[in-house]
């Protein structure tokens, strides 16, 4: 069913003027007299905003509505840079003005329920939105009850998770600024799967960057329930080079699993006893965002099963789930992955609304991590559909070489900045 247009044909069409029309309608468009299809997108993060933008870009005749209660979105990517003083919160805050200017209807309200039978979304105000296709991109929620003594109140006061950027990032940043020299920072990542697999380790790196310059007698301890972690070799090498003796990683055998917290003693309980911290960052285990549960889109894993070609829920028809909340095979839960999924879902929905088969999916992930100011590393992945679901294409992707020289590491750090500037424009611009 592939409808490839060869270069030669394309040129021919261009000369005859046919391609002029085709170029103007890139991705195709319905004739003006056809019914205007309504697509509603819930969630204005990396997944939802990408889907909304590309639905409208690829088919300007669509009615696209983006439901997002927050007026601005603070990105998790680069929020670790804020902890190191390398970025400010305003610099990583995105708004929906440009999307509105593209003709997308922004509804600044929370969606409270979904009726998959009647195809409607109910908003907090009681207002109802009808859809032909719905995209749900609810991000993550925390499993508060998995660490004894930890709860949302504690996260908002003494032990921030800082894994949804914004006030949580500011709280952790303030605690670092207030900490005495010679203090200990505990960073406690969860078991897999969780949002942004290299995130806790970039965080430890950039906290060390701040401490080395401002409080050099301090240290960072990572308490990890996992045997291994993302980009481990590259992080470990970078820590030894930039922050010798400052970052200590403790795996499960070394008491890495946090069982409970004691906020009055500012300590955490592990298999090997209590560990005290002056700043304690608990990143709790995660599940799909709340709306996914309310709408019955999750399975027993706590995440949302989807058709890997269109990201349509395998539970509810005409509802697509993208981003951290969905089960996307080998893809990590990252902002880049969510954006890639948003585009694939957008293109698939446009074809489905016309009664056409979606093209087979092609998905990408690129995650930069900063270890020091001029020291960047990356992991890349290109994904396709295999019998096991969404899988990485053998021989592609992978990590920054472990023997990369300083020029390459510096270039990766510069590309990290360049990546951020482009992806936020690609999504919210």
């Amino acid at each position: 069913m592939s409808m490839n247009i060869s270069r030669r044909d394309f040129n021919k069409m261009f000369l005859t003027g046919v391609a002029g029309a085709s170029l103007g309608l890139f991705g195709g468009a319905l004739p003006a007299f056809a019914a205007r299809h309504r697509v509603v997108v819930i969630g204005g993060g990396f997944g939802g905003a990408s889907a909304a933008k590309y639905l409208k870009k690829l088919d300007p005749t669509l009615s696209v509505t983006l439901v997002e209660p927050k007026a601005a979105y603070v990105t998790c990517p680069f929020s670790n840079w804020v902890l190191a003083g390398l970025k400010t919160i305003p610099e990583i805050t995105q708004t929906y003005t440009a999307l509105a200017n593209r003709g997308i209807t922004i509804v600044p309200e929370a969606a409270v329920s979904i009726d998959p039978v009647k195809s409607l979304v109910t908003l907090k105000s009681g207002k109802v939105l009808n859809y032909d296709r719905l995209i749900v991109s609810p991000g993550i929620d925390f499993k508060w009850d998995t660490i004894e003594g930890y709860n949302q109140g504690l996260a908002e006061s003494r032990m921030p998770h800082a894994y949804q950027a914004g006030p949580q990032t500011e709280l952790l940043h303030r605690q670092l600024l207030d900490m005495k020299d010679g203090g200990t920072v505990l960073v406690c990542p969860p078991a897999n799967p969780f949002r942004c697999p290299p995130g806790p380790y970039e965080r430890a790196s950039l906290i060390a960057h701040y401490l080395k310059e401002n409080k050099p007698k301090s240290k960072v301890i990572i308490l990890d329930p996992k045997e291994k972690f993302s980009k481990q070799g590259l992080f470990t090498k970078g820590w030894a080079r930039l922050y010798p003796g400052m970052i200590e990683w403790r795996g499960p055998a070394a008491g890495g699993k946090v069982l409970a917290v004691d906020s009055s003693a500012m300590s955490v309980k592990t298999d090997l006893g209590m560990v005290k911290g002056d700043v304690i960052n608990i990143i709790p285990p995660q599940k799909a965002g709340q709306l996914a549960f309310i709408a019955g889109l999750t399975d027993q894993s706590g995440w949302c099963p989807v058709n890997p070609t269109s990201f349509e829920s395998t539970i509810h028809k005409n509802i697509h789930v993208i981003g951290d909340a969905c089960k996307a095979g080998a893809m990590p839960k990252s902002g880049f992955a969510a954006s890639s999924q948003g585009k694939v879902a957008a293109a698939a929905i446009i074809r489905l609304l016309r009664g056409q088969e979606p093209a087979p999916p092609s998905l990408v992930n690129t995650c930069y991590s900063l270890i020091g100011q001029g020291y960047g590393i990356s992991v890349a992945g290109v994904y396709h559909l295999s019998p096991e679901g969404i899988a990485e294409i053998p021989g592609s992707g992978g990590l920054t070489p472990i023997d990369a020289n300083d020029d390459q590491l510096e270039q990766e750090a510069m590309f990290a900045r360049g990546w951020y500037n482009n992806i936020v424009r690609d999504i919210w611009g």
């Binding site: 309608l25 468009a29 890639s340 093209a359 290109v382 559909l385 592609s396 590309f415 690609d426």
Partner: protein, 119 residues
Amino acid sequence: MPSKLKIYLTAGLIASASVPYGAQVFAVAKANARTASQVSPRGQILALSCAGCHGTDGKSVGIIPSFYGKSPQYLEEALKDFKSGARVSTVMGRHAKGYSDEEIHLIAEYFGTVWKKNK
């Protein structure tokens, strides 16, 4: 689940079957008259994620190279050179190895023409 996946996969393989470029010209020539308002859906799906680093339609604002306005020929050659390693890169080689030559052709065709609509 496996049987469902097999169906998706089969659909994918049929759509992406690597037909030689020359043969495609004839295969699609007739279809073009009625699909003139469509870009290759496969090319589009392959191309869209590139914008995640290079900017929408390849229009970059920072240090990452912009490829907006480049020709399909230029883009195809660049991607093939990244894939082979003839062109040195940090991350592009790792990405380019994820695509067949036919897929690279489709990506180059998409970005090599998408900018013309803005003219």
